[in-house]
């Protein structure tokens, strides 16, 4: 236990924030971050994730609770004394300075000798592969280049913690993927701790060591990406992360970790989520890619008869839209290969899946 304590670098202890003295925007945020972790705060806009980041950076005060770095509370530390690097969504590169001057800024503030600054700037320009661009102004760079300058500027004074507030929000899709790769590379290479805020789940899933899913000022679940995707703790997370189908039903019986659920289309077996009671209404979540259309060679425990609605050709896969007897839409993703079946309008089909691939959540 003592070792674990020592390992914790950043700790949020029941942190709360209210702007208007009436409502809490962040309602008791707890989290322990180990050195070198890549933590993503994910959530819809207005969920409180950016507020947490701003409190950590020191731009917003903490209403109650405590934020500590390496065991020391930083609640009352001025932002400029926290030694936290930050990357902003709009990059916040100083337009009247060249790229090199931008990078040198945190070092000149720290009164580093000129020769050393020059060396350090050159080193970090090389690190983000912009060695040729030191004399340019931010206005003369492309979006991706600016992003890399912003990254280098946040890292150059070697802070132990780097905060990123939706840093890729302004980039187009291709560039975003490149930058995800770049940030991951730098994180692995330099080993700093990252707190990353985004509302883009793909970004969160592909980069993070752990993701904290926010909704309404509360962390719904904090877990590594795969666990978050495979084992969502509640219906919100199941719905928010990735795509999901929800089949309404009623819990018939519960045996250990599994639940028997009675639906309009028949009885199905599902994993039991926390808080599920016998006889209660529930929603069973199944990922579109875990569903198979009969006939299939995949193993399965559950079957539902559905009516074909339409199919959409996406390219690498095909999306099938079915309707349950009660009218609920159900989506199936099928790889675009020879096994993708054709249906007539309104034709009946059978969907098959494993009990371990679906979770029954309490309804509502």
């Amino acid at each position: 236990m003592k070792d674990l304590e020592a390992d914790i670098f950043l700790r949020f202890d029941d942190v709360k924030k209210s702007y208007d003295q009436k409502h809490l925007v962040v309602k008791g945020f707890d989290m322990d971050v180990r050195d070198g972790e890549f933590i993503t705060l994910l959530g819809p806009s207005g969920s409180g994730k950016t507020t947490v980041l701003m409190m950590l950076a020191g731009f917003e005060s903490v209403t109650s609770g405590d934020i500590s770095i390496a065991g020391k509370s930083i609640n009352r530390t001025a932002p400029y004394k926290r030694n936290i690097g930050m990357v902003f969504q709009n990059y916040a590169l100083f337009p009247h300075m060249t790229v090199a001057e931008n990078l040198a800024y945190p070092l000149t503030v720290r009164k580093m000798p000129k020769a050393q600054i020059k060396e350090q700037v050159a080193k970090y320009l090389k690190l983000v592969e912009l060695s040729e661009f030191g004399e340019r102004r931010p206005g003369q760079l492309s979006g991706g280049q600016r992003q890399r300058v912003a990254l280098a500027r946040a890292m150059i004074f070697e802070p132990t913690l780097i905060l990123m507030d939706e840093p890729l929000g302004a980039l187009d899709k291709n560039l975003r993927e490149q930058m995800q790769f770049e940030i991951t590379r730098l994180h692995k290479q330099l080993g700093f701790t990252v707190i990353y805020v985004t509302h883009d789940q793909t970004e969160a899933l592909s980069m993070s060591s752990r993701i904290a899913v926010f909704n309404d000022g509360v962390v719904q679940q904090c877990a590594p990406p795969s666990e978050l995707y495979e084992r969502p703790a509640n219906a919100f997370v199941a719905d928010f992360i990735g795509e999901n189908n929800f089949v309404p039903g009623k819990v018939k019986s519960i045996h250990g970790d599994t639940a028997q659920v009675e639906t309009d289309g028949g009885r199905i077996v599902a994993q039991k989520a926390h808080g599920l009671g016998e006889g209660a209404a529930c929603r069973v979540s199944i990922r579109p890619e875990k569903l198979f259309i009969h006939p299939t060679t995949h193993a399965h425990d559950n079957a539902l008869t559905v009516r074909f609605n339409t199919r959409i050709y996406v390219g690498d896969f095909i999306r099938y839209y079915f309707k349950l007897p009660d009218g609920t839409d159900i989506i199936v993703k099928v790889l675009n290969d020879l096994s993708a079946p054709e249906f007539d309008d309104g034709a009946e089909a059978q969907l098959l899946w494993l009990a371990s691939d679906c979770i029954a959540f309490p309804a509502g």
Partner: protein, 424 residues
């Protein structure tokens, strides 16, 4: 990964296909049509500007060096004076010609104009010219033709003084730089050299005007910058609420605002009675009709011109710049100086330039609350146009003011750069 290759997109290869002659003609016609259209859009404004701005200024500039009044009144005398050496009294023929002209002017009732003009060069000549003209009106032409010189000399001793004739000769020049010399407190001595005038007014007045404008500009910056900063980073509703107070002066008549200052600052005004009642002073302070009151009232009146461009520019500066600077270890004041100030400079220079130039030429407020101490150059210009009727000197003073402002603008462009100005 290959450096810049990450972000560069495949560019279109630059191939230039020549235009066929017909296509080129069509393209040229299109461009011509657009130009014509653009011209029609601006024509009304262009016409207005030519008549309301370019023409008056040109006239003013012209008038400051061109005064044909005397030349038109006594053309023959001036021709006769041309060969005169300027040392002793002119020949009798010149005097006879002048007496003839005087009689004509007395009958045409234009001798007053000549009196005014000559009086400007030689004080006290006004009555001499007028009385001589009156005396000559009744004398018949033949008498003047033979005895005109004697008649003049008898009418007043000053007609026997070469200085008088020098003044007439100088005043008779249609084109002259004398008004510009006067407006920088210089004059041409009898031998043609340029010397200091006895009374030094205008240079002092220009310096005072510039100094007051500078003080007003600095004051509006000190008052306006923090306010604009606060407004730019306040919530929309609060910023709009405060904006009403900034714009309020614009919705009230300038005259009313200035008069309100009179009510506040006069000897028995609000400020003095309060100070007396509180026992801070036992005698009313001399607040009104001073430089102080002029600066105070003008700072108040010109404040919106500083706040508005500042606010517009600051509104566009995202909070994240300051935050970024602070996250990198910069203290708030240092971050403001190195990051925020340069970024808000376009608004600051626009506001400062606006306030400075407006206050250099301000007329109504100094006229109302300035007294003698708070007068600025524009009040003297107005004085010469309305009271002393010396339009030429007024024009020269005005032109000099224009040159001064252009010079300042040029300096500003040199050191700050006009592309650094932003009004919104």
């Amino acid at each position: 990964m290959s450096g810049a290759g990450n972000t560069s997109y495949p560019h279109m290869t630059a191939t230039s296909h020549g235009l066929a002659p017909a296509d080129a003609r069509n393209a040229a016609r299109e461009v011509r049509r657009q130009k014509l259209q653009a011209f029609f859009f601006v024509t009304p404004l262009l016409v207005f500007i030519v008549f309301a701005f370019v023409a008056p200024i040109t006239t003013m500039l012209y008038r400051s060096i061109h005064n044909p009044t005397v030349a038109n009144l006594i053309p023959d005398t001036l021709v006769a004076l041309q060969d005169w050496s300027g040392q002793e009294l002119p020949d009798d023929t010149v005097l006879i010609q002048f007496a003839t002209d005087m009689k004509r002017m007395a009958n045409e009732r234009t001798s007053g104009q000549l009196a005014d003009e000559i009086n400007r060069a030689l004080p006290g000549m006004s009555s001499v010219v007028k009385s001589t003209a009156r005396g000559l009106r009744r004398v018949d032409d033949a008498e003047i033709a033979t005895n005109g010189a004697t008649l003049l000399r008898e009418a007043n001793a000053r007609w026997a003084d070469p200085a008088t004739w020098n003044a007439i000769k100088v005043a008779g020049q249609a084109y002259s730089s004398s008004y510009y010399l006067t407006s920088v407190d210089l004059e041409r001595a009898a031998d043609g050299s340029i010397v200091q005038r006895d009374t030094q007014i205008y240079v002092k007045l220009y310096t005072k005007t510039l100094r007051m404008a500078l003080i007003i500009t600095v004051l509006t910056i000190l008052l306006g910058y923090p306010l604009a900063f606060y407004m730019a980073h306040a919530s929309d509703s609060r910023a709009n609420f405060l904006m009403i107070f900034v714009l309020l002066p614009f919705w009230t008549s300038l005259l009313v605002r200035t008069t309100a200052w009179i009510a506040l600052l006069q000897t028995n005004g609000v400020v003095n009675s309060t100070l007396l009642a509180l026992g801070i002073t036992d005698q009313p302070l001399e607040l009104l009709y001073t430089q102080f009151s002029t600066i105070l009232a003008m700072t108040h009146i010109l404040l919106p011109f500083m706040v508005l461009p500042l606010y517009a520019v600051m509104r566009g500066i995202d909070q994240s710049y300051m935050r970024a600077a602070m996250s990198m270890g910069s203290k708030p004041l240092g971050a403001w100086y190195r990051i925020y100030l340069p970024m808000s400079l376009p608004g600051l220079s626009a506001g400062a330039l606006l306030v400075f130039i407006i206050s250099v030429g301000y007329y109504i407020t100094p006229a109302l609350v300035g007294g003698t101490d708070g007068q600025m150059i524009s009040n003297i210009i107005a004085f010469h146009m309305q009271q002393s009727n010396n339009w030429e000197l007024a024009a020269a003073l005005g032109s000099l003011l224009l040159v001064l402002i252009l010079l300042l603008y040029w300096l500003f462009d040199r050191f700050v750069g006009t592309d650094n100005i932003k009004l919104g």
